[in-house]
Amino acid sequence: MLISVEMPDSAEAAHASLQAGAVPLGGGTHLLTRMNDEAGPDLRVVSLRKAGLRGIDVDGDTVTLGAATTLADLEDDPRLGYLAGCVRSIASPPVRTLATVAGNLFVPQPYGDLAAALLALDAELDVLGTAGLRRERLERVVADGLPEGELVTRIRFTAPAPGTFRFHKASRRRLNSGSIVTVAARLTVEDGLVGDVRLVLGGLSRRLLRAAGAERVLRGAPLTAEVVAEAAGADVIEPFDDAYASAWYRARVYPVHLRRALLGA
C-alpha cells in the first residue's frame, strides 16, 4: 500500500526522491488501480503534479511537452490538433484529466496509444539521471526502458507537416477501450510515391513495435491497397490474448487496420 506520497516542487527534488527508492506517480491512472485492489509491498511514491513539469511549448515546429502534462491538456490545445484523434481514443474524459504524457510512455500494451503516436513522430526525451539531464530517443526507451530512479522531464518532437500524420485505433468499443490494433504513422507522399515513413504498431506485441519491414515495403512505392497488403506481411508481430481480443484476432485484422490507417478505407 501507499505509505508515503511526496510532492516535490521541482524535477531535481523529484529525482532525488526517486534515487531514494520512491516510484514516480503521474496521473495515477495505472498505479492506483493496483494500489486500490491488490495487496503488495509498501510503496513510496513521488507525485509529479507540482514539480513544474506540466505545460506545452510550441516553438516553430518544435513541440515540447512537460512530462506531467495531462492528456486533457493536449486535447485542449488547438496547436496539437493532429494528436486529437489519438488522445480522444484513450480512456475517457475523467481519466484523461489525470493521465499524463510520460505516464502513457510506460503503461503496458494494449495501452500507450499516445506513446505510439510519439514514437511515430520520433520523439526524444529529456531524462534526469544521476549524471544530470540527457536526451534519449523514445525509440530506445520503449525498447530498453529506463534505469530505476531516472525521471523523464520533457518530451520533444517535430510537429508533422499537415496531412503527414496518421493515427488509427481499432477497439472493442468506439470510445474508452484498450487497443486491439493501433497504427501510428508519419508518412509523406511525393509524386504518388511514399517518401519518408515511420510506422508504429500497438496491440500487436507486448511492446510498441516499429514496423521496419512495412516501412521498407512502403518507401518509394505507390500507396495502393496491394502495396499496403504487402507491407502488412513484412513484420514479425507477436500479438497476445487479453480481454479485448485474442492474439489470433489481432493478427487477423491487422492488415485491415493498416489499410484503413494509410488509405482511409
Binding site: M1, D37, E38, A39
Partner: protein
C-alpha cells in the same frame, strides 16, 4: 406526453374494464430526486464508527483437494483482527434453495477439504482497514492437490468424466431422473411422419450482470444484541432466512435493511456476503463490511448460466412443426444456487409458444468446475428463447418460408393443449405477431391476416 402507439384493447375487451390511465403517460419516478442529488442512500454510504473490513482468500485452482491452510501470516499483519475458516461457521452450508424445498445442500460457506472452482472462498480475514484485510487475505497459505477439472457441460456428462460432486453425479437429480423431462405425444412417430427433419445446436457463454455497485453489505451489531444488516440484496427475506440458518440463530435476531440496489439484474439474489459479514461482526463485536472488489464481482459473483441446446424438429413442407425434441444443458458451475430451479424453468418454457403434437424435452442441470451460475433476468428462459427463435428462423430458411408466417402457423391458440398438459389461454401471440408485422411494414397474406388466437385453422 402522448402515447407512442395506441393501445389495442380488442383482444382483452372482455377481460378489462375501463381504460389505461398510466401506461403511456409520464409519471415521475419516486426515487429520481434522490438519485440526481446523490442523496439516495446505498448500503456503502453508511460509515458506522469502528467499522471493520472483510476480505477473502480464494481458491487459485479449478478443482483441488485442500491439504493445509495456514493463516498465521494473516494474523501477523498489523490491523488484522480475526481470521474465519469453515470451522467458525455454525452451519457451513449455503442453503438458498432449501427455503423452497430443493436439496441437497452442496455449497460450503467457506471451503472445507476441497475447492470446486477458481475463486471459491476459503478463509475470511477481518481487519481494521481494507488494506490490512487485503494484505491478510493475501498472506494466507493454502496447499492443494490438484484434481481433474471439468469445464464443459457435455464433457461433464460423458462416460468416464471425473465426478466432481460428492452427491455422486455431475448433474442435479430430479425425482430420480437425471434431467427435467417433458414427454408429450410420440416424438419418434412425429419424426417418421414429417417431411423434413431440421436440427440445430445453440450455445451461450456465461454472462456477468456487472452491476455498477458491487455486491456487499455492512453489518452493525445493535445494543439489543441483534445484527442490523445493511445490504444491497435483491431478496431481503431470502437473506434474512438463509443468514439465520447459516449462523444458527433465530431470524428475529437479524434485521435486514435493504431496498436500494445499485443494479442487480438477478445477481444480488444469492446470499453470499451477508453470512460472513455477520460472523465477522459477531466475532469482533464491531460493525463489519464485506463488499466485492470489481475483480471479484466479475470473477466470483454468479453469472447467467452458459447453456448448450440441441433442437431437432420434424417439419411438414407447409411449415407445420409436428415433432420437437430439445436437449438442454444448463452449466450450473460448481454449485447449485438457483440453477436446479432455473433448469426447471427452462423445461417449462419448452417447446416455446407453439402447438406441437409431439414433444420430448430433456433439461440437464450440470455441474462443472466453473464459477457458479444463478439467477439473472429470466434465467432458464432467455437462452432457451434465443435457441428456439434462432431455430424457428433456421427452419423458415430451410423451407424458404417467411419466418413470421412460420410462427403464425405454429403459434399456440387459446384452448390448445400444451406439452405440459395445461390448456393455453390468453395467448394473444397471433395478434402480437400481426401487430408487429404492421409496425415494421411486413406484408402478410389475407389468410395469415385473418388468423386469430381464438381459433385454430384446420390442417
Amino acid at each position: 406526453m402522448g402515447r407512442l402507439t395506441p393501445i389495442d384493447t380488442t383482444y382483452f375487451k372482455d377481460e378489462r374494464a375501463g381504460d389505461f390511465t398510466v401506461i403511456g403517460s409520464a409519471v415521475q419516478r419516486s426515487d429520481a430526486r434522490g438519485h440526481v442529488t446523490g442523496r439516495t442512500l446505498f448500503f456503502e454510504d453508511l460509515t458506522p464508527p469502528g467499522l471493520t473490513h472483510v476480505k477473502i482468500h480464494r481458491s487459485t485452482r479449478h478443482h483441488a483437494r485442500i491439504d493445509r491452510v495456514d493463516v498465521s501470516g494473516a494474523l501477523e499483519v498489523p490491523g488484522v483482527l480475526r481470521v474465519i475458516t469453515h470451522e467458525d461457521v455454525p452451519n457451513n452450508w449455503y442453503v438458498v434453495l432449501r427455503l423452497i424445498g430443493v436439496g441437497p445442500d452442496d455449497e460450503p460457506v467457506l471451503a472445507e477439504d476441497r475447492v470446486l472452482y477458481r475463486g471459491e472462498p476459503i478463509v475470511a480475514v477481518v481487519a481494521e482497514t481494507e488494506e490490512a484485510a487485503r494484505e491478510g487475505a493475501a498472506r494466507v497459505v493454502v496447499d492443494y492437490t490438484d484434481l481433474p477439472a471439468v469445464l464443459d457441460v457435455e464433457a461433464a456428462l460423458a462416460d468416464g468424466a471425473p465426478i466432481i460432486k460428492q452427491a455422486g453425479t455431475n448433474h442435479f437429480v430430479y425425482e430420480g431422473h437425471p434431467c427435467r423431462r417433458i414427454r408429450f405425444g410420440d416424438v419418434e412417430r412425429g419424426f417418421a411422419e414429417a417431411d423434413r427433419i431440421i436440427e440445430g445446436r445453440y450455445s451461450s457463454s456465461p454472462i456477468e450482470h456487472a452491476p455498477v455497485e458491487p455486491t456487499g453489505c455492512i453489518v452493525v451489531p445493535q445494543g439489543d444484541g441483534r445484527l442490523r444488516i445493511h445490504s444491497n440484496t435483491q431478496a431481503a427475506f431470502f437473506t434474512l432466512d438463509n443468514t439465520a440458518l447459516i449462523l444458527g440463530v433465530p431470524p428475529t435476531s437479524l434485521r435486514v435493511v435493504g431496498g436500494t440496489v445499485g443494479g442487480g439484474f438477478g445477481g444480488k439474489v444469492d446470499v453470499i456476503v451477508e453470512p460472513l459479514a455477520c460472523l465477522a461482526a459477531m466475532l469482533t463485536g464491531r460493525p463489519a463490511k464485506y463488499v466485492y472488489s470489481r475483480a471479484e464481482e466479475m470473477q466470483v459473483s454468479s453469472t447467467r448460466a452458459a447453456e448448450h441446446i440441441h433442437i431437432k424438429d420434424g417439419v411438414m413442407d407447409d411449415g407445420r412443426i409436428v415433432a420437437r425434441q430439445v436437449t438442454l444443458y444448463v452449466d450450473a458451475g460448481a454449485y447449485s444456487r438457483h440453477s436446479p430451479y432455473g433448469t426447471t424453468k427452462a423445461a417449462a418454457h419448452m417447446p416455446g409458444p407453439y402447438t406441437i403434437p409431439n414433444v420430448h424435452v430433456d433439461c440437464y442441470c450440470v455441474y462443472t468446475n466453473r464459477t457458479p451460475s444463478s439467477a439473472m433476468r429470466g434465467f432458464g428462459v432467455t437462452i432457451g428463447d434465443f435457441a428456439l427463435e434462432s431455430h424457428m428462423d433456421h427452419v423458415a430458411r430451410e423451407l424458404g418460408m417467411d419466418p413470421l408466417r412460420l410462427r403464425l402457423k405454429n403459434a399456440y391458440r387459446d384452448g390448445d393443449m400444451k406439452a405440459h398438459r395445461k390448456i393455453a389461454s390468453g395467448t394473444a401471440l397471433v395478434e402480437v405477431i400481426q401487430s408487429a408485422a404492421d409496425l415494421v411494414g411486413h406484408d402478410l397474406p389475407p389468410e395469415y391476416r385473418a388468423m386469430s388466437s381464438a381459433e385454430r385453422p384446420e390442417g
